[in-house]
Symmetry: C2
Amino acid sequence: MTSLATLTNRQFRLAARPVGVVKDSDWQQTEETLRELTEGEIIVQVLYLSLDPAMRGWMNEGKSYIRPVAIGEVMRAGGIGIVIASRSSKFVVGDTLSGLLGVQSYWIGAADDRMASFYKVDGKAMPLPKYLNALGMPGMTAYFGLLEVGMPKAGETVVVSGAAGAVGQTVGQVAKQKGCRVVGIAGGQEKCDFVVKELGFDACIDYKNGSVHEGLKTHCPNGVDVYFDNVGGEILDAVLTRINMKARIVICGAISQYNNTTPVKGPANYLSLLVNRARMEGIVVFDYADRYHKAVTEMAGWMRAGSFQSREDIVQGLENFPAALQMLFSGKNFGKLVLQVAQE
Amino acid sequence: MTSLATLTNRQFRLAARPVGVVKDSDWQQTEETLRELTEGEIIVQVLYLSLDPAMRGWMNEGKSYIRPVAIGEVMRAGGIGIVIASRSSKFVVGDTLSGLLGVQSYWIGAADDRMASFYKVDGKAMPLPKYLNALGMPGMTAYFGLLEVGMPKAGETVVVSGAAGAVGQTVGQVAKQKGCRVVGIAGGQEKCDFVVKELGFDACIDYKNGSVHEGLKTHCPNGVDVYFDNVGGEILDAVLTRINMKARIVICGAISQYNNTTPVKGPANYLSLLVNRARMEGIVVFDYADRYHKAVTEMAGWMRAGSFQSREDIVQGLENFPAALQMLFSGKNFGKLVLQVAQE
């Protein structure tokens, strides 16, 4: 085994709380030599990191569903890694783990660390990036948010924004599996073509080239029964004008508002909930942790059967973390954004 | 029987769709002599009319849960009246009816008119205005909105805005009956004293004299589990910052926004629904029509037992309709606002 003292851990730490768009000066890059393990600890070499809209929220102060990243702390990120040293009976060298590894080249700590929440994944069964996408947090968010909060019935119309993104692509495909009419909303013709031609959505509205309101009229002739919202802002307001009686709106995120320096724009058309006896409800994926295995099993089955896809956009190199994160908020990624930190 | 030709029906008709606050010129006053009845018809003398925030919405164009009042049409209003002539087997002279009578002194038409939706009330059992308050639409809205959408459990904290109003007073009292901690939000010390000292709310926040946010911190030390919203705007936003996990927000109305000439202000803090896995859902009372009798029976029982009140603010005279309607939107009424059109 390599002496740990020869391994350098490169890290991105939060230097300042960003105001609006994240700047390079909001990050501090550090390097550390890895220390020796104590009993119960492991070292995980980071292979892939998941870049998610939620990361922007973690950088802000204030109460949320998870504590903010502290100034000076390694930036939080989920990822996939391989155990390269272990003094724990829980994991052995060579195990492939999923968990909150952070934006760094190595993770070191107790194998049962509660924040990291490591669990083993089967690197032989599926390519590892899938475990950060359909078979990871975005997929779990999509699966449980759609089925448990959106409660779509066969024949109903499901609309999802951020349709080509990590959560959106799975929302739409699960809804298709359940017999729904599925209409995506995405930015650009290429993304729209992808969700329709490759993922099998019934239609897709390009919000960058036309009116979402008109698109909904055209593609949802029977109105909207379930709207899965990843973006907030004007798109949420447009969908609110087209919902059916007893519609369900799943609030998963609001990427259009995360970099605001002005207050969040609330949905001006929210009284449509009253007129239509409709519901708007939030979803946080952690609530469903005890049933992730069920969703992974079902979606992996669809993937093996060829009726379900999980598309990733993989950026190479830890040093490109700040630039890659920017891609998310400008909508430049195409599929689930993943940072590859080391070769498998 | 009086000859119908000697009776003059005075009416308030919609002359123009109001922009912002309703002006006197938005009304047209007309007088008609009553015509003779044809088979199946009745004449109802209007005794009391219910003045409700929802009336403002009925004056606007556009799709809603009920069609708008047409220009030139008698203004829609619920009320209580007495049958003074009948060629129907459904009702006889002397019957006391509740239904959509309109802002006029007499209603004439088919006894089974679908829009009017007449049903008999027992004028001996309870004072008639109660049938426009706790035992009428506001009471039904409060009862079913709270219990079916808000789903409060004993020991939970229920907050209701417009607490001294028709819907609010019943929401709070039903929540008390169900064992909840109840905190009202109302405008002015007198209204706050009323809901606490007379209706038995645990506390009341005077939004005209202090911060709602601070009031919620003080009076809801365990957070807010159910919020019944009659007002929208800044109060809804303040409550959103204090909700608990899995909270339910019942959207019943948004009186603060009804006279806007600018777009409705959406709830900027709606992402609190996400963080707290909470729900915001609309209620329209008509959905529960087949169970009104259950609610009337239960609340009339509480009233007879002395543990439940229904407070009305009664304005005299059909000619005072425009001024009385204004009172609603400036918060000048104290209790359910009722217009007495004729003596019993």
